[in-house]
C-alpha cells in the first residue's frame, strides 16, 4: 500500500521536476544557453502567489497572475540580459545568467526579508481509499503536469510556431531562410519555460507552503540534473529525467536511505554522464557532407 502512495507521490514530484526541466531543455535547445536563473523564476512565481493570497485573492487567480508575471519576467530577462549577448561566448552568457539569478534572489530578500513566509490557501486536504491516504494536491499536481506535458508535445508537433521551434533548435540559419524570426521564437521559448516554471512553483508550494528567497534553487538544480539525465535539448528527455528523479527521491526518502536522498539523485546524474554523456535521449550531432 505504501508502494502505491509513494508511486503517486513520486510521479507527482517527478511531474514538477519535469515541468521545470522542460524550461531548461527548451531554452538550451533553442537559444543554446544554460539559463541558470530559471530556478529563480520559480521563486518569483511563489512570491507572487504569496502576495496575492495574503490579500485574499482567490488561489486560482493568484496562480494565473503568477504565471503572467513570470512570463513577463522571463521575456524581460531574455531581452535585457541575454539578447544583447547573442553570438558572444557561452561563458559570458552563463555568467550573466548566474548574475541574473543572484539579482532576483537579492531583490526578493530586499522586498520580502530573509525569513520564511507561509503561503495560505493552497492546502487542498486529502482523501482516503481504503487504508490509502493521498493528498488532493498530489493528485492534482500529477494530472496537471501530465496534461501540460501532453499539451506541450502537441504544440511543438502540430503548430506553426512549434515546428519553427524545432527548426531553430536544429539550425538557426536555415530556419531564417524559411522566413522564421529567430528572436521571436526565442522569446516564445522563454515565455513557455517561465509559464511552466510558475506552474511548477505553485505545485511545489502545495507540497510545502513556505517561501524564502532561495525557494527555487533546490527544485531548479534537481530539474537541471533531470534535463541532463534525459538529454539536454530533448523535450521527452526532460520529462523522462524529471519523472525518474521524482520517483527516486520519494522512494529513497521513504527508505532507510532517507538522509542520502539528494546524494543518490546526483549520483544518478554522475553515473548517467559517465555511461551516456548525452543523457538518455540526447542526440549526438551527425554531420553529413
Amino acid at each position: 500500500m505504501n508502494f502505491i502512495t509513494n508511486l503517486i507521490g513520486g510521479l507527482s514530484l517527478g511531474g514538477i521536476y519535469a515541468m521545470i526541466a522542460l524550461g531548461y531543455t527548451m531554452v538550451y535547445g533553442i537559444a543554446k544557453m544554460l539559463n541558470f536563473a530559471h530556478g529563480d523564476i520559480i521563486m518569483v512565481g511563489g512570491y507572487t502567489i504569496l502576495v496575492f493570497t495574503a490579500r485574499s485573492v482567490h488561489p486560482i487567480i493568484a496562480i494565473i497572475l503568477s504565471v503572467i508575471f513570470c512570463v513577463a519576467l522571463g521575456i524581460s530577462v531574455e531581452k535585457v540580459a541575454y539578447k544583447p549577448l547573442r553570438g558572444s561566448s557561452p561563458l559570458a552568457v552563463l555568467i550573466t545568467a548566474i548574475g541574473v539569478s543572484y539579482l532576483l534572489q537579492s531583490l526578493a530578500q530586499m522586498i520580502f526579508g530573509s525569513g520564511t513566509k507561509m503561503v495560505q490557501g493552497l492546502d487542498l486536504g486529502s482523501f482516503s481509499i481504503g487504508s490509502l491516504k493521498i493528498g488532493v494536491s498530489t493528485v492534482v499536481t500529477l494530472i496537471a503536469c501530465f496534461m501540460v506535458m501532453i499539451a506541450l508535445n502537441l504544440f511543438v508537433k502540430y503548430t506553426r510556431i512549434g515546428r519553427a521551434m524545432v527548426a531553430v533548435s536544429e539550425d538557426k540559419g536555415a530556419a531564417q531562410l524559411m522566413g522564421i524570426n529567430v528572436n521571436f521564437i526565442i522569446m516564445i521559448t522563454f515565455a513557455i519555460g517561465s509559464a511552466l516554471a510558475a506552474l511548477a512553483g505553485t505545485f511545489y508550494l502545495m507540497r510545502s507552503p513556505s517561501m524564502y528567497s532561495t525557494f527555487g534553487s533546490l527544485p531548479g538544480i534537481k530539474a537541471f540534473a533531470a534535463a541532463v539525465i534525459g538529454g539536454i535539448g530533448s523535450i521527452p528527455g526532460a520529462m523522462l529525467g524529471g519523472i525518474l528523479l521524482g520517483v527516486v527521491e520519494v522512494f529513497a526518502g521513504a527508505s532507510v536511505l532517507g538522509p542520502y536522498t539528494d546524494a543518490i539523485e546526483f549520483a544518478i546524474l554522475i553515473v548517467i554522464l559517465l555511461v551516456k554523456p548525452t543523457g538518455f535521449l540526447g542526440k549526438k550531432r551527425r554531420e553529413k557532407v
Binding site: 506553426r160 515546428r163 519553427a164 524545432v166 527548426a167 536544429e170 539550425d171 540559419g173 536555415a174 530556419a175 531564417q176 531562410l177 524559411m178 522566413g179 522564421i180 524570426n181 529567430v182 542526440k283 551527425r286 553529413k288 557532407v289
Partner: protein, 236 residues
C-alpha cells in the same frame, strides 16, 4: 530594372576582408552564375544578400528596395530564398515537415497544397519518402529536398549555393534540369557553382570571383569560350 542589385559590397570576418567591393546585378528572368575557386567568397556573397551575414559597407537592393541591413527572415518574406551550401535540411523533421517549413511564409492552405503537389511531381522520391526522417536520406535526396523546400515558398528569386556539390554525374544533370525547370516557370536564378561547364551553359550571364573580387564577367557563352576560364575551371 534589375531585380537584385549589389553595389560595392564589402564583407569582413573580424579583421579579414572576404569580399572586397563587388558589384553585380541580376535581372528579372535571368540565370546568373557566380563561379570561383574555393574560398573566393561565393558563399559569403550569397549569405550577405539574404541577410545571414551583414556587410561592412555597400548596398543591396531587391526590387528597388534597400535590403542590406535587414534581418534574413524579413528578406525572405520579400520573395527570395536560398538553397544553402551543404543543404542544411532539418534532419530531425520528416521530408513532409521539411517541405512545410519551406512554406512558412505562406498562409494560403490551397496554394501550399498546390505547391506541394508540384514538388512531389517533380521529385517523386520525396513523395515516396515523405514520412521518412530527413537525416536518413541519401545526399542526393537531401539536395532534392533542399531544393523542394526552397521552392515551397514560391520565390521570385532563387539562390542556390553549389547545388551539385558531392553528387554523382547523373544527379548533377538532374539538378541542372530542375534549375532550368524552375527558371522556365518564371523564377529568376542566382547560382553559385564550381561546375563551371554545366552552370555557364545554362546561364544568361556570369561573374568570376577571385579572392573577394570580380575579375571577369560576361554572358555564359562568352565565359565558356574564354581562355582564362578554360584554364582555371574547365581543366584545360
Amino acid at each position: 530594372m534589375a531585380l537584385l542589385e549589389v553595389k560595392n559590397l564589402e564583407v569582413y570576418y573580424g579583421v579579414i576582408q572576404a569580399i572586397k567591393g563587388i558589384s553585380f546585378e541580376v535581372n528579372k528572368g535571368e540565370i546568373v552564375t557566380l563561379i570561383g575557386a574555393n574560398g573566393a567568397g561565393k558563399t559569403t556573397t550569397m549569405q550577405s544578400i539574404i541577410g545571414l551575414i551583414h556587410a561592412r559597407s555597400g548596398e543591396i537592393t531587391y526590387n528597388g528596395q534597400l535590403i542590406s541591413g535587414m534581418p534574413a527572415h524579413k528578406i525572405v518574406h520579400l520573395g527570395m530564398t536560398q538553397v544553402p551550401e551543404g543543404r542544411r535540411i532539418f534532419s530531425e523533421l520528416t521530408v513532409y515537415e521539411n517541405l512545410m517549413m519551406g512554406a512558412y511564409t505562406k498562409k494560403d492552405k490551397e496554394k501550399i497544397k498546390e505547391n506541394l503537389d508540384e514538388i512531389y511531381a517533380l521529385f517523386p522520391r520525396l513523395e515516396e519518402r515523405k514520412n521518412q526522417v530527413a537525416g536518413t536520406l541519401s545526399g542526393g535526396e537531401q539536395q532534392m529536398l533542399a531544393m523542394g523546400r526552397a521552392m515551397m515558398s514560391n520565390p521570385d528569386l532563387l539562390m542556390l549555393d553549389e547545388p551539385s556539390m558531392g553528387l554523382s554525374p547523373l544527379l548533377v544533370d538532374q539538378v541542372f534540369d530542375i534549375i532550368k525547370h524552375f527558371h522556365e516557370k518564371g523564377t529568376t536564378i542566382l547560382l553559385v557553382e564550381q561546375n563551371a561547364n554545366k552552370s555557364l551553359a545554362i546561364s544568361d550571364r556570369a561573374y568570376v570571383l577571385e579572392n573577394g573580387r570580380i575579375v571577369l564577367s560576361g554572358t555564359g557563352a562568352e565565359l565558356l569560350a574564354s581562355e582564362e576560364i578554360k584554364k582555371a575551371y574547365l581543366g584545360g
